[in-house]
């Protein structure tokens, strides 16, 4: 009991001293795995603090949408200076709130596979959604969405729910982009192959790793983790020639930030070479800029598909209707 109180007191004290420092503190709201000890956060913090004589603080939520909702709930009392982690499909939700400031970062030199230009959001990494499989266990793999739907009944996949997860929404848009009006029909054909639809990426990927399904919806860059961190070569992606839906991750500064200049410097920093060298082996995605060092070895064997991407405004306008359509098709 006494120990606990000391612990809580220590935690309180620690949070107070954080604010007491006279260096300016830049607060970044982001998703959990970015802020994790093994994520990009520690290295980004060290590099940015050294260059700008400030304190950089990451505040994690379980998802970037969660961070956005937190900012909305906090209103003008929010401590957030920057929101990092939304993607092109969700950034328009944030823009609609009117809480975010325009940026001055030069994004013209960035090497993105699909054009992205926005006055509020700055891209910092990207990847492609893909189905990952274990080549030791699964030998016949589909090469298109169409082939996936016509695999034998016993071929099972795990996907995420588009209402609670970005990969889930990504697949929904992927199907929509390729099938248009016939998307609902496609989902009906795909439904028998769907083992289960999980709340988030974690559950889906863990089910796959347990051997429950042949493939799980993840990223083309997922095998890089297994290659580099685990020295396992059997995890591969099912490569679809018609292209894969992309995810470009973004950051933006808040209008209410007390350190707008520092926030702008942070947005410049996330498009810098230093940041680009940190990203691949911490966030397991591609950086938005080529660097002198280049990509780590494990990334070179990855499949690089054509990127399919809808513009954010279209997604924002139709998301609800498309999710309803998906629910109607898959629930039968």
């Amino acid at each position: 009991m006494k120990k606990t109180l000391t612990l809580i007191a220590a935690a309180l004290l620690a949070s107070m001293t954080l604010h007491a420092a006279d260096k300016p503190t830049l607060t970044v709201y982001t998703y959990d795995s970015f802020a994790a000890d093994w994520g990009p956060a520690p290295k980004v913090k060290a590099a940015f603090e050294k260059a700008n004589n400030c304190t950089l603080r990451f505040v994690p939520s379980s998802s970037a949408i969660g961070s956005l909702r937190k900012i909305q709930l906090e209103g003008d009392k929010t401590q957030a200076d920057v929101l990092l982690g939304l993607d092109t499909s969700t950034a328009d939700m944030a823009k609609a709130t009117g809480l975010f400031a325009k940026h001055h970062t030069d994004t013209s030199k960035l090497t993105l596979p699909a054009p992205y230009k926005d006055d509020t959001f700055v891209p910092y990494d990207y990847s492609y959604f893909a189905f990952v499989y274990d080549s030791n266990k699964t030998h016949k793999v589909p090469t298109s969405l169409e082939e996936l739907a016509s695999m034998p009944e016993s071929f099972k996949i795990v996907i995420e729910d588009p209402r609670s997860s970005t990969p889930g929404l990504g697949l929904l848009l992927w199907v929509k982009a390729q099938y248009g009006d016939k998307a609902a029909d496609y989902w009906k054909r795909l439904a028998p192959h769907i083992l289960t639809i999980t709340k988030g990426w974690s559950e889906a990927y863990n089910l796959f790793l347990k051997g429950e399904a042949d493939m799980a919806l993840s990223y083309t860059t997922s095998p890089a983790y297994h290659i580099i961190a685990e020295k396992k070569l059997q995890y591969k992606t099912a490569n679809f020639a018609k292209g894969h839906y992309g995810q470009i991750e973004l950051a933006a500064a808040l209008k209410s930030s007390k350190h707008p200049k520092l926030a702008q410097k942070f947005l410049d920093f996330i498009t810098s070479e230093t940041f680009a060298d940190i990203i691949p082996t911490t966030n397991w995605t591609y950086p938005v800029r080529q660097t002198a060092k280049g990509l780590p070895e494990g990334f070179k064997s990855l499949y690089v598909p054509k990127m399919i991407l809808m513009d954010g405004a279209t997604v924002q306008k139709n998301r609800k209707a498309w999710i309803d359509e998906w629910l109607g098709a898959i629930a039968k």
């Binding site: 612990l7 505040v59 909702r69 016993s154 209402r163 609670s164 769907i194 083992l195």
Partner: protein
């Protein structure tokens, strides 16, 4: 009446004030949300919510009935096999079901019953065919819910069996009743009143189940109302809609608690509880009962063994050298300790106040006032089942925002409150009948001797309640360890608990480490549970064997 209220002031008012404070807290919570949302979405609800509500009710009713049925079978077998080897251990084992983190259990169940689980592998080996992916869908939801709740039901029912006086058993033996006749005429009457109370708790737990439903449900056909709530809060940011859904859950809980409050407490026979039922079972019946115990224990253990085996792949010593793991562990243990102390104190206060109503020699034996107070305490003790944890977290966050101050301390307060609310329904389910029993047993004596409340506690209540208190403490400690729900909005780098750490690992490819943390969590929960049950010489096996 007033005189009585004064006479029982020291034992009545603390509990009543706690109850009123808890209800007041819920009021402020909903009020803040209502103010923030600027209103509530108008009723009637949309077709989609209606169909979600229908399925939610359907699966919750089915889960409850199955849990009660299986729990009854198990309790009946345990009650009639008092000399079954390691019976105390089996009882303690099933007692832990409630506190197991549900996501860990779900993954354990998948390892055993999944598409590529042990059962299917065995079937493939023996017959060349598998059962396929049967576990995903309604069956999976029911299996997981029954797994978690049937054992809870069985413990409550076992107590009911054991509170049947030996004299009644002796009488029915001499009448030459068969096991079935005995069940119908004697036992069913005694346990009947316990069933609805346990059933309502299970129903509400299943009603608000979320992670399990999504993981094992397989398709949006099997979504529950919580999914709609999540969608409203996180995706659409439609607070009026969220409030509407929360109100539906609140109404259902109130209705159920109202029904439960109208039922008798089931404490009619308290003369001499039968720890050992004087009833030699026929050989076939005894064999059947033993098989039930063995089979259900094995089924119960398998998913846990799966979690352990998975966890053994992890480098546990290395885990203990990581600062973040140690910090999460420390914070989880600290929070669980404080939650436990708070839960025990509040449960005692509430139960002490509650027993003034509905008993002779006290304030009101029957009638409206007694029922009203009973309802007040029942409702304040069951808030967690009535308010979705997403709403609890959201409301708390808004209150914190309006009051200002350090988010870290607010976050810890929110976790403590959530843990407390989560443990109270179970703590009260045990404490209220136990305290009512001691009141029935000692009231005449205590009042005629004119003992002070402290003396009463020392000589009458404590010796009798010790066992229940340590059980509640273990329950609440373990429940608090496994909790995840409420801290999402408060998450920052100062607050990190073991389940949070586990989820963080799962969310970034570190599956093996995550399995290791799950194992540590499981060992902690069981360790605490068994230590408390066995550590106290007055409890556990030695007590059961007396």
């Amino acid at each position: 009446m007033l005189k009585l209220l004064w006479r029982f002031r020291t034992t009545l008012w603390p509990g009543l004030i706690v109850a009123i404070l808890l209800l007041g807290f819920a009021g402020v919570l909903f009020g803040t949300l209502y103010y923030e949302a600027g209103g509530i979405a108008p009723f009637p609800v949309s077709d989609r919510i209606l169909s979600l509500l229908k399925f939610t009710l359907f699966q919750a009713i089915l889960s409850t009935l199955l849990s009660l049925l299986l729990g009854l079978l198990l309790a009946w077998s345990l009650a009639h096999q008092p000399r079954f080897c390691c019976r105390g251990m089996v009882v303690a084992l099933f007692g832990s079901s409630l506190v197991l983190p549900s996501l860990i259990v779900a993954f354990g169940i998948i390892t055993v019953l999944g598409n590529h689980g042990w059962l299917n592998q065995l079937a493939d080996l023996l017959t060349g065919h598998t059962f396929g992916s049967y576990v995903y869908g309604l069956s999976g939801i029911l299996i997981a819910h029954v797994y978690l709740n049937a054992s809870f039901a069985s413990l409550g029912l076992l107590r009911a069996f054991e509170s049947i006086p030996i004299e009644k058993y002796r009488l029915s033996t001499s009448l030459g009743l068969s096991s079935w006749q005995r069940f119908r005429t004697l036992e069913w009457v005694a346990i009947r009143s316990t069933l609805p109370r346990i059933g309502i708790t299970i129903f509400l737990l299943c009603f608000s189940s979320f992670a399990i439903v999504l993981l094992l449900g397989g398709s949006p056909v099997y979504n529950t109302l919580e999914v709609a709530l999540y969608e409203a809060v996180r995706i659409d940011f439609d607070l009026p809609a969220a409030l509407q859904i929360a109100t539906i859950q609140l109404m259902i809980s109130i209705a159920l608690l109202l029904i439960a409050s109208g039922m008798p407490q089931g404490l009619n026979n308290l003369k001499q509880p039968s720890r050992f039922i004087p009833w030699p079972e026929k050989r076939q019946v005894a064999l059947f009962q033993r098989s039930v115990i063995l089979l259900l224990s094995a089924i119960y253990l398998l998913p846990l063994i799966a979690v352990v085996l998975d966890g053994l792949h992890a480098d546990i010593p290395h885990l203990f050298s990581r600062p973040l793991f140690l910090r999460s562990l420390g914070m989880s243990l600290g929070i669980a300790s404080v939650s436990t102390v708070l839960t025990v104190i509040l449960a005692l206060m509430l139960a002490d106040a509650r027993r003034h109503f509905g008993l002779p020699l006290r304030i009101a034996e029957r009638g409206t006032i007694g029922r009203l107070f009973g309802l007040l305490i029942a409702f304040s003790g069951n808030l967690y089942l009535a308010i979705p944890s997403l709403i609890l977290g959201l409301g708390f966050f808004l209150i914190a925002r309006d009051m200002g101050g350090s988010m870290t301390s607010w976050g810890i307060t929110a976790i403590l409150t959530a843990n407390l609310l989560m443990s109270l329904p179970f703590a009260l389910a045990i404490m209220i009948p136990a305290m009512a029993k001691t009141a029935r047993r000692y009231d005449k004596l205590v009042f005629s001797l004119g003992l002070s409340p402290l003396q009463r506690w020392r000589y009458a209540d404590w010796p009798y309640l010790r066992r229940s208190i340590s059980y509640i403490a273990a329950l609440s400690f373990s429940l608090s360890l496994g909790d995840l729900g409420v801290i999402a909005l408060f998450g920052n780098q100062e607050i990190t608990t073991l389940p949070w750490y586990l989820y963080q690992l799962m969310g970034s490819y570190r599956t093996t480490d995550a399995a290791g943390v799950a194992l540590v969590l499981l060992v902690l929960v069981f360790g605490v549970f068994f230590a408390v049950q066995y550590g106290d010489p007055a409890t556990g096996e030695s007590h059961a064997a007396r």
